[in-house]
C-alpha cells in the first residue's frame, strides 16, 4: 500500500502511531513491509492456502465470534445432501459438467431450497441461470411454506459451519508452510494476532489490491478473507472489514458506472441475448425476493428513463429493447482475441495502453493490426498509439507500416486538472475535482469527446427510419454546454446520475425514492443522493478537524453517504453495540430509529426485533437483525450457494503456470479458469508436462511508487522518469548465483510468449522458499516500461499469457513461470528464434488439462 497508495497509506501510519499492528503478506519485501511490524513472504499464488490456514486456526481453536456468527452469517444453514466437497472429490466440487466446462450449482443449494445470489448469477459465459425463481430468505418460505433448515448449535454435519471446518481441515500450519513457504509459527503469529484483535472490543481489517484479484482464483482469495472476517465478526464494524484499495483514477467509479461489458450502472447485470426478450423476463431472472436487490425493477427503469427520457414509456418497456445484449464473453481479453482473428472493425482506446498494460503484449499489437480503424485518446503517443510503426514486430520484420491496414486516429486528451468531474476510488468515496485550467490547443476531455461525437452521429442519423438507429436517436443527449469549446457541464451529468423526479426535475435524495413506474430517473441507483437537495454533495470539503471522525461532510460515499457498509452488524441482534469502544450504529428505543456515528446502512425505522410477515418482498423480507441487506437472506455467506462459478468455498489451486504440483489435491489448477488455448497465447508447460523444466522460476509482476500503470503518465515526465529510469528485475542473491546474474547487469527473461531484457537488482528482499521439498525462486518484474517516452524499456506484459478468473474475467498477472538468463536479449529475428528454442523444448504444448 505504501508503494501504490502512498497518500492513503498515511492513515495506516496514523493507526500505527495509535498502537495498531501492521502485518504485510507479500512475495516481496516492499516499502510497505519496511513499515510493517511483520512481513510474511508468501509464495505468489498461494494466498488461499494461507488464508485457509487462518480459517483452520480459527475453527480448530474455537476462536470464532459465536454471538456474531450465529445470527449474522449462514453458518447454521444446512446444505443439500447431494453436496460433495473438494475433500471428497480430490479438488472438485459436486456438479461438474465436463462438457460444459462448468459447475451446475444445484447440489450446492441449501437443503430444500433454490436461492439466487444477490445480483443475479449466471453460471457460465453465455450460459443461462438455472433453477426456478424461488424464495431464499430467512423467515419466509418456499411456496410450500418451508424455510431453510438451520442448526443454531452449529453441530449438524451438513451445516455450513461444519462443512467449512471439514473443507479447511487440512489447511494446517504445517500444510501452509509446505504450500506457501511461510513458516508454521509465522502463520500462527498472524492467526493468533487476528484472533486476539477481533471480537467485541477490537477489530482487524484486511487491505488488498490486485495482488489478490489478478489470479485465476482471485475472487476466491477475497472470499477466504470474507470468511475470516465473518467468523471473527469484523464485517460492518469500524476498524474491520476488507478494504479493496481501488486504483487512483476512479477505478471504483469505472465499475460503478461501468466500463465493463457485463455490467450496467450500479452493478445491474447487462441483458443477455437469450432469455431477456423483455424487461419482465430480465427482472424475473435477476430480482431476488429478499434484500435491496428486490427493487431491481425500480433501479432498472430509473436507469432507462435517465438514458432514454421521454422516449421510454411503459408501453415500450422503457426502451429496454434498445440496450445491447450479450452473446458471450465480450471482455477486453476475449475481444482482443476476436480482434486478432479479424472479427473486430474498430476500437476506441481511451486512457488505456493495452500494449504495455495488458498481458501478452504481442497479441494486442497483432490484434490492433487487424482492425480497420483505431482511435486513441491520450496525452502522448503511447505504445498502443504507435504500434503501427514502433514495436518489436516492426523491428523483427513480422509487420510493417506498409502492410498494416489499420487507420489510426490519435486524438489529444485533456488532463484531470483540465476538466471537472468526480473520482470514485477506495471507500466508495466520490470526490469532485474542479477544472483548474483550460486544456491546450485540441486537447479535449472525454466528456466533450463522447458528447460531441454522439451529437454529430445523431445529427447524421436524424432522418433515419432504420430501427437500428433508434437507440442512438432516443437517447437523452442534451447536457448544457459552456465555455469557448462547448464543454458539457459535468455537474449536470452528476445530477442525472444521482437522479431526479421526471415531472419536476427535482433532485432525488435516496434510492428508496426510485420507482419502476417511469416517474424517476437515475443514471446509477447506488449514486442516488450524490446531488441531493440540488447540491453537489461530492464537492463538499469540510475539514476533518471540524467534524466527527467519520467525516460525513467530506465528499459523498455511496450508498447514501454511508461510510461503513453493513454497519448494522456493529450492533448485536438487539441493537446494542458489541462494546462501548466499538460503538458505531445502534438502535435508539426512545426515538424508535437507528442512530450512530455513521449513517446506518439499514432502514432507519426497522426495529431490531422485526420479523417479516408472509409474502413480504425485497427489504421488507429481511429481519431486523439481518445486517447484510444486499443478500437475499440478509446474512453474510460463509458458504456461497450460487453466484460464483468456481465453487461455494475457496480452494487452493496452483496458478495456471506453476513449478509446484498442488500438494492438496489432484486437481492442479482451477477447473473453471478461462483459458484461451491458441498458439499466440501458448501456456508454459508445468509439472510433468514436457518441457516444464524450461521454466523453473516463479514470476510476479507489480508496480513501483514512482511510475503509474503502463507508464504513459510517468515515463513521459522527466521528474518521474529519473526516479526509476530503467526496467529491472528483482532476484535473490541465491538465484543470482544460480543463474550467474550480475547486480546492475542485464538479464533476459523468457516465457512461451516472448523474451524481454531487464537490469538486474540483486536483493535480499526477494526470498527463496522451500515449497513441498522444492527450492522455489521468484523473479520480480515491475510492469511500467514500454518502448516510448523519456525512459524506455521492455514490458513485463510481453511475457504473460492470458488466463482469467471465470467470475471476474481478470487476468492472472501475479503468478506465472519463466526462465532467466544473464545478458541482454537478442534483437529482431534472433529474438523470435530465442523464444522458438524454448517452444521447441515443450513440443509447443498449449496448456494443462
Amino acid at each position: 500500500m505504501a508503494e501504490n497508495h502512498p497518500v492513503g497509506f498515511q492513515w495506516v501510519m496514523e493507526a500505527k502511531e495509535r498502537g495498531a499492528k501492521l502485518i504485510h503478506v507479500d512475495p516481496r519485501f516492499t516499502r510497505t513491509s519496511a513499515m510493517a511490524d511483520l512481513h510474511v513472504p508468501i509464495r505468489a499464488g498461494s494466498d488461499i492456502a494461507f488464508l485457509g490456514g487462518i480459517v483452520n486456526y480459527i475453527l480448530e481453536n474455537g476462536r470464532e465470534f459465536r454471538d456474531y456468527v450465529v445470527p449474522y452469517t449462514n453458518a447454521a444453514v444446512i446444505v443439500n445432501e447431494d453436496f460433495a466437497d473438494t475433500e471428497d472429490l480430490d479438488g472438485m466440487f459436486s456438479g461438474w459438467d465436463p462438457e460444459a466446462g462448468a459447475y451446475d450449482p444445484a447440489s450446492w443449494q441449501y437443503e430444500g431450497m433454490t436461492s439466487k445470489s444477490a445480483s443475479g448469477g449466471r453460471p457460465g459465459a453465455g450460459g443461462r441461470a438455472g433453477g426456478e425463481a424461488s424464495h431464499g430468505a430467512h423467515g419466509a418460505g418456499l411456496s410450500s411454506g418451508q424455510s431453510p433448515s438451520t442448526d443454531p448449535t452449529l453441530e449438524h454435519p451438513r451445516c455450513v459451519f461444519q462443512l467449512l471446518k471439514r473443507h479447511f481441515a487440512r489447511y494446517t500450519p504445517e500444510m501452509v508452510e509446505r504450500i506457501c513457504g511461510v513458516p508454521a509459527d509465522q502463520l500462527i503469529e498472524v492467526a493468533e494476532s487476528m484472533c486476539l484483535n477481533s471480537g467485541r472490543e477490537r477489530t482487524t481489517a484486511f487491505a488488498y489490491a490486485v495482488g489478490w484479484t489478478q489470479h485465476t482464483v482471485g475472487a476466491q482469495y477475497i472470499r477466504t478473507a470474507a470468511i475470516i472476517q465473518l467468523l471473527l465478526g469484523n464485517m460492518g464494524r469500524m476498524g474491520g472489514g476488507i478494504l479493496a484499495l481501488r486504483g487512483h483514477a476512479s477505478i471504483q467509479g469505472s465499475t460503478d458506472i461501468p466500463t465493463l461489458y457485463n455490467l450496467l450502472p450500479g452493478y445491474l447485470p447487462m441483458p443477455q441475448a437469450e432469455g431477456h426478450e423483455n424487461l419482465d423476463a430480465y427482472i424475473a431472472e435477476h430480482r431476488p425476493p429478499g434484500g435491496f436487490w428486490g427493487n431491481t425493477s425500480a433501479y432498472m427503469v430509473s436507469l432507462l428513463k435517465a438514458w432514454f427520457g421521454d422516449a421510454a414509456t411503459e408501453e415500450n418497456d422503457y426502451c429496454f429493447g434498445h440496450l445491447p445484449r450479450l452473446t458471450g464473453d465480450h471482455s477486453h481479453y476475449a475481444t482482443s482475441f476476436e480482434m486478432r482473428d479479424g472479427k473486430v472493425d474498430g476500437y476506441f482506446v481511451m486512457g488505456q495502453n493495452p500494449v504495455v498494460g495488458t498481458a501478452n503484449s504481442k497479441l494486442h499489437r497483432l490484434a490492433l493490426a487487424e482492425l480497420k480503424w483505431l482511435v486513441v485518446r491520450e496525452f502522448n503517443e503511447t505504445e498502443t498509439a504507435a504500434f503501427w510503426y514502433d514495436s518489436p514486430e516492426i523491428d523483427s520484420g513480422e509487420n510493417s507500416p506498409e502492410t498494416i491496414g489499420t487507420e489510426v486516429f490519435f486524438m489529444p486528451a485533456a488532463a484531470h486538472t483540465e476538466k471537472g468531474g468526480t473520482f470514485t476510488n477506495t471507500q466508495r468515496l466520490l470526490q469532485w475535482h474542479h477544472k483548474a485550467i483550460e486544456p491546450k490547443d485540441d486537447c479535449r476531455s472525454e466528456l466533450w469527446f463522447m458528447y460531441h461525437l454522439g451529437r454529430r452521429i445523431r445529427e447524421k442519423l436524424a432522418d433515419s427510419q432504420d430501427p437500428r438507429d433508434l437507440p442512438v436517436l432516443d437517447l437523452t443527449w442534451d447536457y448544457p454546454v459552456e465555455g469557448p469549446r462547448d464543454e458539457p457541464d459535468a455537474e449536470a451529468v452528476l445530477k442525472e446520475i444521482s437522479g431526479y423526479g421526471v415531472a419536476d426535475r427535482g433532485a432525488l435524495s435516496s434510492y428508496m425514492e426510485l420507482r419502476d413506474d417511469g416517474s424517476t430517473a437515475s443514471g446509477c441507483w447506488i449514486y442516488c443522493g450524490a446531488y441531493a437537495d440540488e447540491v453537489n454533495q461530492t464537492a463538499r470539503r469540510k475539514p476533518g478537524q471540524d467534524q466527527t471522525w467519520v467525516a460525513p461532510e467530506w465528499a459523498w460515499a455511496w450508498p447514501l453517504n454511508r461510510r461503513i457498509l453493513y454497519n448494522r452488524a456493529s450492533a448485536d441482534p438487539e441493537g446494542r453495540p458489541w462494546s462501548e469502544r466499538k460503538r458505531l450504529v445502534w438502535w435508539d428505543e426512545e426515538a424508535e430509529r437507528w442512530t450512530g456515528h455513521d449513517i446506518p446502512d439499514f432502514e432507519a425505522t426497522k426495529r431490531p426485533d422485526y420479523v417479516p410477515p408472509d409474502g413480504a418482498k425485497a427489504q421488507d423480507a429481511l429481519r431486523g437483525d439481518d445486517p447484510f441487506i444486499m443478500q437475499a437472506d440478509g446474512v453474510g455467506w460463509l458458504f456461497v450457494p450460487s453466484g460464483l462459478k468456481d465453487g461455494p468455498l475457496p480452494t487452493h489451486y496452483e496458478p495456471m503456470e506453476s513449478p509446484v504440483a498442488n500438494p492438496l489435491y489432484r486437481q492442479q489448477v482451477s477447473p473453471t479458469r478461462e483459458q484461451f488455448v491458441r498458439p499466440d497465447n501458448a501456456y508454459n508447460p508445468i509439472a510433468d508436462q514436457r518441457g516444464a523444466e524450461a521454466f523453473p522460476y516463479v514470476m510476479t509482476t507489480y508496480r513501483l511508487t514512482e511510475h503509474h500503470t503502463a507508464g504513459g503518465m510517468s515515463r513521459t515526465l522527466p521528474f518521474l522518469a529519473e526516479l526509476q529510469p530503467e526496467m529491472f528485475c528483482e532476484v535473490s542473491p541465491e538465484l543470482a548465483a544460480e543463474r550467474e546474474l550480475e547486480h546492475g547487469g542485464w538479464a533476459t527473461v523468457v516465457t512461451m510468449r516472448q523474451a524481454i531484457e531487464a537490469r538486474v537488482m540483486v536483493t535480499e528482499r526477494m526470498t527463496p522458499q522451500d515449497i513441498d521439498g522444492q527450492r522455489i525462486h521468484t523473479i520480480g518484474l515491475p510492469y511500467h516500461w514500454g518502448a516510448r517516452g523519456e525512459v524506455t524499456g521492455d514490458s513485463a506484459n510481453e511475457l504473460l499469457s492470458i488466463v482469467l478468473d471465470a467470475n471476474t474475467h481478470i487476468g492472472e498477472y501475479k503468478a506465472a513461470t519463466c526462465d532467466i538468463r544473464p545478458g541482454r536479449r537478442p534483437r529482431g529475428q534472433a529474438r523470435l528464434d530465442l523464444v522458438d528454442s524454448y517452444r521447441a523444448q515443450t513440443g509447443d504444448r498449449a496448456g494443462p488439462a
Partner: protein
C-alpha cells in the same frame, strides 16, 4: 514523563540587518522512521523550484536512482537495505502473539517450533536536504555575499549575485551544494523562501504524505523531536537518534535536522560534521606566519651579499 526542556537557540538571522523584521527561526524535522520512500518530496521540490531533471541512471543502489544532493537535487531520498538480527519470534516485538498462542497451548499441541533465531530485513529510508546550519560554512566562505541568512534564519543563494566561484561546494561538510552545469551558478534548497513568506509550508513538507518532513518553528520542532526519539527508544529502538539537533555539534545545530535509525554515515551523512571556519583562527595564524616567512626570507637573503 514531562516534556523535555529545550533551550531555544537564538536565531542566527542577523539582528543587525533585520532588526524588527527578524522572524522566529524555522526549519525541518525529518523523522526518517516514518518515511515510506515515496519521493514525493523530490518531485514536489523540483516542480515548485523548476529544478531541472538530472541524468537518467539506474544506479543499482536499492531504489535510489537519484544519488545525492546537488545543484539539481534538493531533496534526496536514501534507501538502505539491511539484515537485522531477530532474537527469536517469542521475544521479538512487544505483544508477541506467538507467546500468547504458546500460553494457550496451541503450539504445544501442534508440536511446532516457535523459537526462530534468524535475521529479519530492514529498509531504511530517509529524505536528505540542505541542513541550513546555524554556523553555515557555505555562507561564511562565500566571497560575493550571494549566500545570505534570511530573516527566518535559513540560508539562501541569491542567483543574481552568485558568480559560480564554487567555493561553497567543498566547504559544505554535508556535500549539499554544487554548481549547475550549463548555468555556472550554485543552486540549493531555499527552504522555499518564496513560500514561507506567504504563510505556506515548503513544497516537500506539504507533499510528504506521512508527515515525515515536518516544517515549523525550530524550537517547537526540536521539542517534538526529542519526545519522539525518547518514545522510540523506550519502545526498544535503541538506535534511534537525532542528528543535527544538538546546538553543541560542529555546525551549531542544523535548521534542518533528522531522526535517524542508524549511524549517519550509513545514510551518507558525516558522523561529526564541522563548520570549517571553526578553525579559521588557526588557519589565519599559520598563513600569517608563512607570509611572514616569505617577508623574512625576502629580506634575509640579502644579508651580506654584494649588489
Amino acid at each position: 514523563m514531562s516534556a523535555p526542556e529545550v533551550t531555544v537557540i537564538d536565531t542566527p538571522a542577523w539582528a543587525g540587518s533585520y532588526g524588527d523584521e527578524v522572524k522566529p527561526r524555522v526549519g525541518f524535522f525529518t523523522d526518517t522512521s516514518i518515511c515510506i520512500g515515496c519521493k514525493a518530496c523530490e518531485v514536489a521540490c523540483k516542480e515548485w523550484n523548476h529544478v531541472p531533471a538530472t541524468e537518467y541512471e539506474f544506479t543499482g543502489h536499492s531504489y535510489d536512482n537519484t544519488g545525492d544532493l546537488g545543484s539539481d537535487t534538493w531533496r534526496h531520498v536514501a534507501f538502505v537495505e539491511q539484515r537485522v538480527p531477530v532474537g527469536g519470534v517469542a521475544e521479538g516485538a512487544p505483544d508477541s502473539f506467538v507467546a500468547e498462542a504458546h500460553r494457550q497451548e496451541i503450539l504445544q499441541r501442534s508440536g511446532i517450533e516457535a523459537e526462530r533465531d534468524g535475521e529479519g530485513l530492514r529498509w531504511l529510508m530517509a529524505s536528505d536536504v540542505c541542513k541550513h546550519c546555524t554556523h553555515a560554512a557555505c555562507l561564511e566562505v562565500c566571497p560575493t555575499g550571494a549566500l545570505f541568512r534570511t530573516e527566518f534564519g535559513t540560508v539562501v543563494v541569491q542567483q543574481d549575485v552568485c558568480n559560480g566561484c564554487g567555493y561553497c561546494v567543498p566547504a559544505c561538510p554535508f556535500g549539499v551544494l554544487d554548481r549547475r552545469e550549463g548555468d555556472g551558478r550554485v543552486w540549493k534548497c531555499t527552504l522555499c523562501y518564496d513560500r514561507i513568506g506567504d504563510g505556506l509550508e515548503p513544497a516537500c513538507a506539504q507533499a510528504c504524505p506521512t508527515n515525515s518532513i515536518q516544517f515549523g518553528e525550530h524550537d517547537e520542532l526540536r521539542a517534538r523531536a526529542r519526545e519522539r526519539v525518547d518514545r522510540l527508544q523506550a519502545d526498544g529502538l535503541a538506535e534511534a537518534r537525532l542528528y543535527g539537533e544538538d546546538p553543541g555539534d560542529g555546525v551549531g545545530g542544523a535548521g534542518a535536522f533528522f531522526l535517524l535509525l542508524d549511524e549517519p554515515e550509513v545514510y551518507g551523512l558525516p558522523p561529526d560534521p564541522v563548520d570549517t571556519t571553526r578553525d579559521l583562527g588557526e588557519m589565519w595564524k599559520a598563513a600569517g606566519l608563512a607570509a611572514g616567512a616569505i617577508a623574512a626570507g625576502a629580506l634575509a637573503v640579502f644579508a651580506g651579499s654584494s649588489r
